[in-house]
């Protein structure tokens, strides 16, 4: 489900670059990342540790602190910059929590252990919504009910330690939703949870997304988690987005060799393979990112050009090969050339078209 066609994206991340200055050198954690999120759209940002996915998310809410620094690019919320300009602090203050809300991986450390969960939700409501004590309390009970917590009136009197991990994550989602945000950023929201609880939380996010017309940015390392929830998926590797595509297309036919590698090395419950196709080697050191494609050293399809030159994120379409895309489709795609959110796919690989041709002819 993609937002109404004439809807401008609510969030634009535009050539974002983030560095971390350490004693052992500068780590280029995010290297020229661009993507957009439309109203009500669910986007998955997938990558392994160190790919820059969480840092990107933190930049959305002005949470990059020293030694980290945004050294280039911009993040715009409904056209307003969250990075540059004189009033940026105030813009962030206004947007954070109220329009963009965030849920983190660890539901224990995100809650204050010495206050009841009720008082923590009430605080959010009183601060951002200027509600009175009574009204805020009533709303807190409503919110807990919304996220599927049974007996919410009694639960608001409990402390975080009295709740299980899944329950705490629900509380955090309730807090995030307190101000009716337009975008929920969820950074590995289910990684610390058991599978059955993970299923509950994912179900909840999907439900809320439908009911509240919420846009969601789901950050995860798990391609499985994204599959059931997201409209669109962006894959990050070594600080860059290497592929951005509608979820169904990405899984059916990964265009970037890294995406294909990730899918190949993920064991599936429904398909038994003799052997997993592992990606050999390890990601590059981002203090000294390679001059070419960061994946080239691990890529089975790399050619000379890949090591010398950086591929940029370019539009990837189904080539008009026999029986694939009709003329009409191709024309439609031309019209929408400037809107990657709708045309579907972008990929940063010199060999993407070659590889696709090979796949089709095979």
């Amino acid at each position: 489900m993609i937002g109404p066609p004439d809807d401008a994206p609510v969030l634009e991340v535009d050539h974002l670059q983030i560095d971390f200055v350490t004693r052992r050198g500068t780590v280029h954690a995010v290297r020229d990342v661009s993507f957009t999120i439309a109203h009500g759209e669910t986007v998955g940002l997938v990558g392994e540790s160190g790919s820059g996915k969480s840092v990107t998310a933190q930049a959305l809410l002005g949470m990059i602190e020293l030694p980290g620094k945004i050294v280039g690019g911009d993040v715009r919320w409904k056209g307003e910059s969250l990075v540059h300009g004189p009033g940026v602090r105030r813009t962030i203050e206004r947007v954070r929590g109220a329009e963009i809300a965030m849920v983190f991986q660890d539901p224990m450390t995100s809650l204050d252990p010495v206050f009841t969960i009720g008082s923590q939700i009430v605080e959010v409501l009183r601060r951002h919504r200027r509600l009175g004590r009574k009204a805020a309390k009533a709303r807190a009970v409503e919110l807990l009910d919304l996220v599927g917590i049974a007996n919410p009136a009694a639960r608001i009197k409990q402390y975080p330690f009295e709740m299980s991990g899944g329950m705490r994550q629900r509380v955090l989602i309730a807090m995030a939703l307190a101000c009716e945000p337009a975008l929920l950023v969820a950074d590995e929201p289910t990684t610390a949870l058991d599978v059955t609880i993970q299923a509950q939380i994912l179900e909840l996010i999907a439900e809320l997304q439908r009911e509240l017309q919420l846009a969601v940015l789901l950050i995860t390392h798990d391609l499985g988690v994204v599959a059931g929830v997201c409209d669109r998926v962006a894959v990050m590797y070594a600080g860059k987005i290497v592929e951005d595509a509608p979820a169904a297309d990405l899984y059916a036919e990964p265009a970037h060799p890294y995406t294909a590698g990730l899918l190949g090395s993920t064991p599936r419950l429904d398909i038994v393979l003799d052997r997993l196709v592992a990606i050999e080697g390890a990601p590059p050191d981002l203090r000294l990112p390679p001059p070419g494609c960061a994946y080239a050293t691990r890529c089975p399809h790399a050619v000379e050009r890949c090591e010398a030159e950086q591929p940029s994120l370019e539009r990837f379409v189904a080539l008009p090969l026999a029986g694939e895309a009709s003329e009409e489709d191709a024309v439609l795609a031309e019209d929408e050339l400037d809107d990657p959110a709708r045309t579907g796919r972008t990929v940063a690989c010199f060999r993407a078209d070659d590889l696709r041709r090979q796949r089709v002819s095979a």
């Binding site: 058991d194 059955t196 299923a199 499985g224 994204v226 993920t266 064991p267 429904d270």
Partner: protein, 348 residues
């Protein structure tokens, strides 16, 4: 009811797969009616009542030589406790463990030390399980020296270097410290250390859970290759059913300290008998959007029961969609529902 240990030998033989070597019929490890309770706080007037966590309750299974048994459960299900008990690192409250036909539950002293050479543990966290002050050579050679297989660390160098190479580590790895390696490589060091004594049996406790997806596949492949070459037997403990299904011959599913299902890994997936297994399988996301969206998911309500006061009857009754009155009073025994397929449910 007969215990499932005796039943394992009747299990139908596995379809020969290149990824999973066919195990022999000989049982290498047998666990019989194992229960483990841990004392926790006291309650009552002046703390007269000792409280117990019932971590593992009456669990029986066997592992054949050359087999990988996947032990699956959520946090608090008792899977790690069972693994540690087999290695004699945790004392069972009741029940027996046999290794190569010998009862080892009461083994002590020098005999236990000798026994430990044959059973080793691969840890989950490759960052916390290796001493940062030791070189890789020292780490891997240490067990050899401790058990008198090598006179000194340096005398073991030749063997260690060979072993490191076998585990996919670079040639110069021996003289470096763990911090010089990535998570995947550290896990390879952990595996090399576990293999140094040439054990027959390895308990791998969530060996790939801390690793990134692409590296995880490397380590899973390594474990499978080593099993082929060295005829190892694995108890593979994990919460990730996709990995477990990939690597295991058979799968044992635990819920709140109880063994609820035990069968060939294909039958567990294709025809699960226990409602918890069904729910667990349906919770595992499949990386295929149309398929994942079309799947019938059984989303369980509620949470795992408190292990100090487990519910009476079947421990799953508080969340079970099939639960009836009988389940609330009587614990269902583990029964053979089909050849080699064991489950503990009255209604399946």
């Amino acid at each position: 009811m007969t215990s499932a240990t005796s039943a394992t030998s009747t299990t139908s033989t596995d379809p020969a797969r290149t990824g999973r070597p066919v195990p022999s019929d000989e049982l290498l490890v047998e666990v019989d009616r194992l229960s483990i309770n841990f004392p926790v706080g006291r309650s009552g007037f002046w703390g007269q009542h000792q409280q117990w966590v019932h971590a593992v309750d009456d669990v029986s299974f066997g592992i054949r030589r050359g087999e990988t048994l996947g032990l699956v459960g959520e946090s608090g299900s008792g899977k790690t406790t069972i693994g540690r008990a087999i290695l004699r690192r945790i004392e069972p409250s009741s029940g027996w463990i046999r290794f190569r036909g010998q009862y080892i539950t009461d083994t002590k002293g020098e005999e236990l030390r000798r026994l430990r050479q044959y059973m080793q543990l691969v840890f989950q966290d490759p960052y916390a399980s290796l001493n940062p002050r030791m070189t890789v050579l020292q780490l891997v050679a240490e067990p050899l020296v401790v058990h008198g297989r090598a006179k000194s660390i340096d005398a073991a160098r030749g063997d260690v270097v060979k072993l490191l190479g076998r585990c996919g580590l670079p040639e110069d790895a021996a003289d470096r410290h763990p911090h010089a390696f990535s998570g995947g490589q550290r896990q390879r060091i952990g595996i090399a250390r576990a293999l140094a004594l040439r054990p027959a049996f390895i308990v791998a406790d969530e060996p790939v859970s801390a690793l990134d997806v692409s590296v995880r596949a490397q380590v899973v492949n390594l474990l499978q290759d080593l099993q082929h070459e060295l005829g190892l037997t694995y108890l593979f403990i994990a919460h990730d059913l996709s990995v477990v299904r990939h690597i295991s011959h058979r799968i044992a599913i635990l819920y709140a300290g109880k063994l609820v299902e035990l069968a060939d890994s294909d039958s567990v997936y294709e025809s699960p008998r226990h409602p918890y297994t069904e729910a667990l399988l349906s919770s595992v996301p499949i990386p295929d959007p149309p398929l994942q969206r079309a799947r019938r998911r059984i989303v369980l309500q509620g949470e795992i029961p408190n292990p100090i006061h487990p519910p009476p009857g079947c421990r799953f009754q508080t969340r079970c969609p099939l639960a009836q009155d009988r389940c609330r009073h009587e614990a269902p025994p583990l029964e053979e529902k089909a050849p080699g397929h064991w489950a503990a449910c009255f209604f399946r």
